[in-house]
């Protein structure tokens, strides 16, 4: 229906654009382009008056695609949003007016190219149509009946949702039941508080909105947010229910391997007890095995040698327990032996309180423990070795191992490789031992550089996963039954930017299964996760995307007619949103989808697209840029900039008036994961002299908003070399850079460096063909 496309170009003259660019020339150059119905100019289209001009044209049916050539697409999104017309933007302000010398030949070319790219984009993008989605249930399932789970259930009920709380054991309360006193969570952060767990359990049991199910495991979960269909097994009796979203609060357990603590005598020597068991002693007024304790050493083991699972929690608990001992018996002698004492948050006050009460903190390494108990220590403050004698008890703080899996269950039959990392996208995917797909291209790509690579990244061995045990939710997903973990077994959730998100949409995580935390922190965490769970249900009701493209209506469409069933999309989706149907074709669960487009970047036949973002759209945009005459010696470099961090950094460079290399052309992408290699080769074929991919940081400390997008893009770009050699081009023409949102200075430097590099290589020989 391309005949119907009527593009309206709105050239804004405000914010210094008119001073930098010759608007008459620009209007002449773009107004007569194919399918451009109208071209208007105004001093400020963001003003009410300017907006009314566009609105009128849309209303009168004169235009049905709006191209606002003004500021970056990241600002004024509400202002430039017109009912019934897809709106795209051409960035004339941040990229041109604010970063280029005014009234210059190259500035003019930059502005023109940006508008031409906008026209190509307007031509190829449409208004997204929401998928038909039904929210079958607004109930929230909370898995785990410890302090996080109880708080989550209460908060969800308070927010008006029906809740089912599932607990594995026969009673609620979890670890918190054992605690004697708790660390204060309010000013003045001094003085330990009483354990409120009994009241919380009572509140949960009395709440009509909460159904508590004890001795219950989740045996199966399928579906998507808004309609998770969950099988609950209560002592063998299976019941099925539908939930809107799920909060996982399975907490922690003692480390499976306690041998590192044997060095301190734990489990070997009498009167050496763990920090957890010491809580019982504290409850009993310092009585242990019929003897009143007076002289106690509390060991916070050195993390590097003993505690892979711990954090500042052990340190804070040691301080808390030391205070409790001094409160119970002011004549007691308490030594806290630490390597690094970490008093996170407000616990510095607690540390002072302990000091005031006469607790002795010693930076000391325990060398050995013997009967008595006696400790040989290396006192790092006195610089000498000493022996601690006359101790009544030694308390060893242990680590917290996350219950990301259920240790009581056997390992899952398949899909364990998805627990800890992603499948290596460079390796062929096999179906029944045969390489998947029948397109030659797939095979050629899959062959890679001939190295014998494993199907999963090296740190994840499916035979020997980092966490034993079976899945918690037993997800019936293409990508296995687990919720993926990051390091030390804690569930993958970006701990600063999006803490409660797991890599399974609609399933949120809180408490010590996410990161080690104290009771007070777990309560706060639970409330946060419930808010996300509620938000997910509300967004799914409107067929909108949840985090991080909150509210996005678009979703990927799969052209199954040319699909080769290579399964790359189903394997590479960072969120396990795509399943496979019986015939092996991809089947999207739209509410699980986060709209990053990683599937689009993965598809070797380019048959996955969004209404307003598609391989074709970007290819058209690449072609739209005018290549200068080869004799002008002016290169053109295409930069695919991730719109989450890289593009904002570029905008920021504009706001700071840093000069951006004038030979660069930018296309914002949803995530680097959505960049298909076709775009790279297409750009080089069309005469661009270089291509740069600019995205977020990948790896364990990733900043990618779609978790794996930039990592996958990095993998993919690693194999572009061969494609370039086939084109007889230098591999240095393609560059991959990781930047952060604060790198406004660095991005400019990177662009200049790459510009210099391209200059050194010389112009693309394809130019002009």
């Amino acid at each position: 229906m391309s005949d119907d496309i009527k593009i309206g170009i709105y050239l804004c003259e405000g914010c210094g654009i008119a001073e930098a660019v010759n608007m008459d020339e620009l209007e002449q150059a773009v107004a007569n382009q194919y399918q451009v119905a109208k071209c208007q100019r105004h001093a400020a289209f963001c003003s009410d008056e300017g907006r009314a001009v566009i609105e009128k044209d849309v209303k009168d049916g004169e235009v049905n695609r709006v191209l606002v050539a003004a500021c970056s697409h990241r600002v004024m999104t509400d202002r430039f949003n017109f009912d019934g017309a897809a709106t795209v933007r051409a960035n004339l302000r941040e990229q041109v007016a604010w970063t280029q010398p005014p009234q210059d030949e190259d500035t003019q070319a930059f502005a023109k190219d940006n508008v031409l790219m906008g026209i190509a984009q307007a031509r190829t993008c449409d208004l997204p149509e929401p998928h038909e989605n039904v929210v079958k249930s607004e109930k929230i399932l909370v898995v785990g009946g410890g302090i996080s789970g109880l708080t989550a259930a209460l908060e969800a009920a308070r927010a008006g949702h029906e809740v089912t709380l599932v607990e594995k054991t026969d009673q609620l309360g979890g670890w918190t039941r054992k605690w004697s006193k708790l660390i204060p969570s309010r000013p003045p952060y001094r003085g330990l508080i009483d354990n409120p767990i009994e009241d919380i359990i009572k509140a949960v049991e009395e709440n009509d909105k909460i159904t508590v199910m004890l001795n219950t495991l989740v045996s199966k979960t399928s579906g998507e947010p808004g309609e998770f269909s969950v099988t609950l097994s209560q002592g063998g009796n299976e019941t099925e229910d539908v939930f809107g979203s799920i909060v996982v609060a399975t907490g922690w357990r003692m480390p499976d391997d306690m041998t590192p603590y044997e060095k301190y005598g734990l489990g070997k020597i009498g009167n050496v007890i763990s920090g957890v068991d010491f809580e019982e002693v504290l409850k009993n007024g310092l009585e242990h095995e019929g003897k009143k304790l007076n002289t106690i050493a509390i060991i916070i083991p050195c993390e590097s040698e003993a505690m892979p699972y711990t954090s500042g929690v052990a340190d804070r608990i040691a301080i808390k327990q030391a205070i409790q001992v001094m409160d119970a018996d002011p004549s007691a002698m308490v030594y806290v032996l630490h390597d690094n004492l970490r008093a996170h948050g407000q616990a510095e006050e607690l540390y002072r309180e302990a000091q005031e009460k006469g607790v002795v903190f010693m930076k000391a390494m325990v060398k050995s423990a013997s009967e008595g108990p006696e400790l040989v220590i290396d006192d790092l403050l006195l610089g000498r070795e000493a022996t601690l004698t006359g101790l009544d008890a030694v308390v060893v703080q242990t680590g917290m191992m996350p219950n990301s899996t259920n240790p009581d269950l056997p390992m899952a039959e398949k899909g364990n490789e998805f627990l800890c990392d992603d499948v290596n996208p460079r390796v062929p995917i096999t179906i029944n031992g045969q390489p998947a797909g029948d397109g030659d291209e797939v095979k050629a790509e899959a062959a890679g550089d001939g190295e014998e690579a494993s199907a999963v990244t090296p740190d994840c061995d499916p035979e020997n996963p980092p966490l034993p045990g079976g899945p918690i939710l037993n997800l019936q997903y293409r990508q296995g039954p687990h919720i993926p973990i990051l390091y030390n077994g804690f569930i993958d959730s970006h701990y600063i930017c999006f803490p409660y998100e797991t890599r399974r949409t609609g399933i949120y995580v809180c408490g010590a299964v996410r990161k080690p935390m104290t009771t007070a922190e777990a309560k706060e965490d639970a409330a946060g996760a419930v808010l996300k769970a509620k938000q997910a249900i509300n967004l799914v009701k409107e067929s909108r995307a949840t985090h991080p493209r909150v509210g996005d209506l678009s979703y990927p469409h799969f052209g199954l007619d040319i699909c080769t069933k290579c399964r790359r999309c189903t394997v590479e989706c960072p969120f396990g949103a795509i399943d496979e149907n019986e015939e092996g074709y991809p089947k999207l669960n739209p509410s699980r989808c986060r709209r990053c487009g990683t599937c689009m970047g993965a598809c070797p036949v380019r048959t996955i697209s969004f209404k307003n973002y598609s391989p074709n759209m970007v290819a058209e945009m690449i072609e739209a840029v005018e290549q200068p005459d080869p004799f002008d010696e002016k290169p053109r470099i295409m930069v695919f900039a991730c719109e989450n961090d890289a593009y904002p950094a570029l905008d920021m460079a504009g706001i700071n008036r840093r000069e951006i290399n004038k030979y660069m052309r930018f296309i914002p992408v949803r995530c680097l994961g959505s960049v298909t290699l076709m775009w790279v080769s297409h750009a080089l074929e069309k005469g661009y002299d270089g291509v740069m991919l600019m995205g977020c940081k990948s790896g364990d400390d990733y900043q990618c908003h779609f978790v794996k997008g930039s990592a996958i893009a990095k993998e993919r770009i690693g194999k572009v070399e061969e494609t370039l050699r086939n084109l007889m081009l230098e591999p240095e023409r393609v560059s991959f850079e990781e930047v952060s949102i604060a790198d406004s200075k660095r991005v400019v430097e990177l662009l200049d460096q790459f510009g210099e590099q391209i200059k050194g290589i010389g112009l693309n020989p394809f130019k002009g063909f």
């Binding site: 002698m333 030594y335 000091q355 005031e356 006469g358 002795v360 010693m362 930076k363 610089g383 000493a386």
Partner: protein, 199 residues
């Protein structure tokens, strides 16, 4: 004042707790977080065997003998830098001075850093006797603290300096400086001693 306890084992806190109760400023000693600001700030720190930070940790470790015979107590020049800079507000100088007094009382003092100990004694003798310090008397007292022969030798060594100072009018000849109403000073000191005895 109760008798100073001698810890039976390392890290026995009886000595540390006695210091907390009985040494001026000792109640703040608990708050030491071993940051080392005091030792790092001390202009005389290189001369000390331990430095205030380590000294305080030794108090906690119950190393009574080592603490009271430490040269740190006698190398302190009371410049108060540590006191001013301590992030936990511990009166470091006060504690060190009082530990020195304790060392003297407990008979540890003359065994180490005799010079500083003798000088302190000479200084106090002059202040107590005349209500003022007289440079000639303090010096002579100090010199002869080492014994008669040693005193003569030290005096002769410094004779040239003394003569030069007299010539320049920096040291006077004649009766020692003194205050009026010396008996009142004596009464005050007696009262202070009495209070100290009471603890």
């Amino acid at each position: 004042m109760t008798a100073v306890p001698t810890p039976s084992r390392t890290y026995d806190l009886s000595f540390a707790r006695w210091v907390r109760e009985n040494v001026e400023g000792g109640d703040k000693l608990n708050m030491c977080m071993q940051c080392g600001m005091c030792s790092g700030s001390c202009p005389n720190g290189q001369e000390m065997d331990n430095g205030p930070r380590k000294l305080f940790m030794m108090v906690r470790a119950g190393l009574k003998d080592e603490v009271l015979s430490s040269s740190t107590l006698w190398e302190c020049t009371s410049c108060y830098r540590c006191y001013v800079r301590c992030p936990r507000g511990i009166p470091v100088t006060t504690i060190v001075q009082h530990l020195a007094a304790l060392a003297a009382k407990e008979g540890y003092a003359p065994k180490n850093k005799v010079e500083n100990y003798f000088f302190s004694k000479a200084f106090w003798w002059s202040a107590e006797s005349f209500g003022k310090t007289d440079e000639r008397l303090v010096t002579m007292k100090y010199f002869f603290s080492f014994g008669f022969g040693e005193g003569i030798r030290k005096a002769l060594d410094n004779l040239k300096i003394a003569l030069g100072m007299i010539k320049a009018g920096r040291m006077h000849i004649g009766l020692p400086h003194t205050i009026k109403n010396k008996s009142q000073l004596k009464a005050m000191i007696a009262k202070a001693k009495e209070l100290e005895q009471k603890g």
